[in-house]
């Protein structure tokens, strides 16, 4: 593989911070907020059912007491559903604040087992070679689905989950603008600039 550009870098928290920065959902249209807040329509239906069942199950109790207890049961049901929905939403859509991204970066770095490891990426005509201790991977440009750019990195997406970080300061041949142009040409994709986190 004839080398056109070469990048040398070390995996650290900063690499994973920038990876977390680009791997979140795109900032498209804001999602429409429901009038019911964290509850769905089906939760309301289920809570009415719970109210009815509780009302039927407390047949021996006088009517005001039955209604009171059933209302309490209804509120309890909605509260539990709301908390569980919130938990589910926060695990699906994690916070994008700088501190949250730093936490994700720290955890991802730990899970990756690559802290402090060096890596050399050589860009050739048809693809690029990623060499790190014990792993040599060759990827074809045709398999690249997206390229994003942050202040310090280019992030090459092989799929939604496989992202190869390329540190700008590690570029050994040429400059950042030439490299960006080259990537766009060989991958046939436009490099997307990612806004910095506020």
């Amino acid at each position: 593989m004839e080398k056109k550009f070469s990048v040398s870098m070390t995996y650290n928290e900063n690499v994973f911070y920038h990876r977390a920065l680009v791997s979140g959902p795109d900032h498209g249209k804001p999602t429409k907020k429901s009038m019911l807040g964290d509850l769905d329509f089906s939760d309301i239906l289920m809570s009415i059912l719970a109210f009815g069942l509780y009302f039927l199950a407390t047949g021996g109790v006088d009517l005001p007491n039955r209604i009171f207890q059933s209302v309490i049961a209804w509120i309890l049901f909605l509260t539990v559903m709301r908390s569980l929905n919130r938990m589910r939403k926060s695990s699906k859509e994690p916070s994008r604040s700088e501190s949250a991204l730093k936490r994700v970066a720290k955890s991802d770095l730990g899970a990756s087992g690559q802290d402090g490891e060096t890596c050399i990426i050589s860009f050739g005509e048809d693809g690029f070679l990623v060499e790190s201790p014990g792993i040599v991977s060759e990827y074809k440009y045709a398999g690249v689905t997206r390229i994003k750019e942050t202040e310090e990195f280019f992030m090459i997406f092989k799929s939604r989950l496989t992202i190869i970080p390329v540190e700008k300061s590690g570029l050994e041949d040429g400059n950042v603008d030439e490299f960006r142009e080259y990537l766009e040409e060989v991958c046939g994709l436009a490099v997307e600039k990612t806004a910095a986190v506020a």
Partner: protein, 188 residues
Amino acid sequence: MELAREDALFMVRCRVTEEKLLRLERGTRVLGFQNGAKKVLSIFGVIALICLVVKGLFEGMVALILSAIGGAMLLIFVAGTYAIAKGWAGTKRDIKKKYNENKAEYQREKEFHFFEDHYEVVGEFEHSRLEYNNIGRMLDMSGMIVFLEKGDVVRFFMKDDVKKGNATELAGFLERMSETKMEYVSVK
């Protein structure tokens, strides 16, 4: 870089399917938080049952208190069970969507060639050569072998996808070479 695939001790040929993604998700849930949530809910269910059974032995205020506690616990149990079922239905929808969005990539065939001192992953756009010490964790999810590589990469295939050698021997070989114990996760 590539050794002839015929020289491989074991060979796996696979594609990612929706069923495999679902199995992986179920297995991950068994390993993680969702299982904890189920345990907490079971505790609520058991307390509800005990309160509602024991209240029959008492009369007056004690029976009323037990009945109220039992009722509340039962409601939490029902709400939690419903929320988990709803969450799983949402996850299934998400996996289907993810699968359809990435169908072209998932349907590309991938081969794993396991040699004496390394293994290779060969796809249409990828060719990786890895040493066994990169495997950090191995899981057997009821018929699916999953291994986690350094760099947070998850590889998975069904035992039926093993085309050279057999899955049991391959699992033993991987345990020996990576010095990692296979963890068994029951996935229904």
